[in-house]
Symmetry: C2
Subunit: 151 residues, 2 copies
DNA sequence: GATGCAAATGCAAATCATTCGCATCTTAAT
DNA sequence: ATTAAGATGCGAATGATTTGCATTTGCATC
C-alpha cells in the first residue's frame, strides 16, 4: 500500500526526515512508511496488523512496534496522543504543522480540522499557572459524523 | 475532608444534582462527594485511595469505583477524559461550565485554564467533515510549571 | 416498620494494552 | 570481513480496567 498522490514521496521523505543517530532497520522503516502513508493517527495494534497482514505468521513482534514508536517519539519525529473516544494510544508523524481531529464517537473515524485556530495559548493560563512553560497542546472535537446517527 | 469555602454546599449540591433514577448508595454518595470536593480531575485510583484512607482494610472495592464512575458518566453528571501526560483516565463532575487544564509533564499538577476560549468550533471542521454533529471537545495544554524545570 | 426484588457491591479472576528480561540477530563503523 | 552496540523476538510481567457470581442493600409496597 504505497502512497497516494506522489509516487516515491515516502521514500524521499524517509531519506530527508530520518532522525539523526537512529539505526535504519527494516522494522523501523516499515513502521515509518505505514505512518507516512496514513492520513489518520494509528494505534499500535493497527500498525502491527498492517505490518503482518501479508504473512501467515507474524514477521514483526508487538514489542518491536512499541519500541520503535517510542524511539521515534524520543527522536521527536512522532507524536503520541490518547484520544478520548478510544481506549488506546494513537501515533502520527510530526509534520511541519500539527493537526487536530474531529472524532466520530461511533465509527471512530478521524477528520482533520481545518487548522489549529488556537491563538495565543498563553493567554488561557490563569494566575496560578504563572510561569508555566508551554511545550505542546492537544485539541479534540468529538461527536457524530454524517454517516453515523446519534443512537 | 468536607468542602472548603461553603460548609454544607456539597450536601446541597448532592440534593440538587443527583441524577434521576440513580439509587443513592453510601458508595455513590461518597464518590460523588470526593469528586465535588476536588478542584482537579481525579483518577479511579485516587478516588479509591481517598475512599479507603481512614480504614485498615478497604471498605470499598475498586470495581465499585469504576462502576459508579460509569454510572455517573452514563447519567451525564460526570466527564471522563484521558490526558496525554497520564496513563490513566481521570474524572470530574460536569459543572455548568466545562474546564480545560494546563498539565505539568513533571509533577502532573493540573492548572485550570482561564476559560474556554474556543470560539466557533464548527468553523474548524473541514469539508470532509460536512455534517459532523459536535457533542463535545477537549483541549489540553502541556509543559512545565514554574516549580519544575524542564529536565 | 416488615417484605421482596431489582439493582448494587465485593471479591477474585479475566482482559487488554503496554512494558520488560533475556537470548539471538543486525546495523554500521572499522 | 569483523565486531561491538544496539535492535529484535519471544514470552512472561505489569497495571489499569472489566466481568462473573454470590451476597447485600436501597427503596417501593404492604
Amino acid at each position: 500500500m504505497p502512497c497516494k498522490m506522489h509516487p516515491e514521496s515516502t521514500d524521499r521523505q524517509i531519506e530527508r526526515n530520518w532522525p539523526e543517530g537512529i539505526k535504519k532497520t527494516k522494522q523501523r522503516i516499515a513502521i515509518y512508511r505505514i505512518l507516512a502513508d496514513s492520513d489518520t493517527p494509528l494505534s499500535a495494534a493497527e500498525i502491527y496488523q498492517t505490518l503482518n497482514q501479508n504473512s501467515e505468521k507474524p514477521l514483526y513482534a508487538f514489542s518491536t512496534v512499541y519500541r520503535c514508536l517510542q524511539t521515534f517519539e524520543d527522536a521527536g519525529v512522532l507524536a503520541k496522543s490518547v484520544l478520548i473516544s478510544e481506549e488506546t494510544a494513537v501515533y502520527e508523524l510530526r509534520t511541519g504543522t500539527h493537526r487536530h481531529y474531529a472524532i466520530c464517537m461511533k465509527c471512530h473515524r478521524k477528520f482533520p480540522l481545518r487548522s489549529c485556530m488556537l491563538g495565543d495559548l498563553r493567554r488561557m493560563l490563569s494566575e496560578e499557572a504563572e510561569g508555566f512553560e508551554i511545550t505542546g497542546h492537544q485539541l479534540e472535537i468529538y461527536g457524530y459524523c454524517s454517516s453515523c446517527t446519534r443512537s
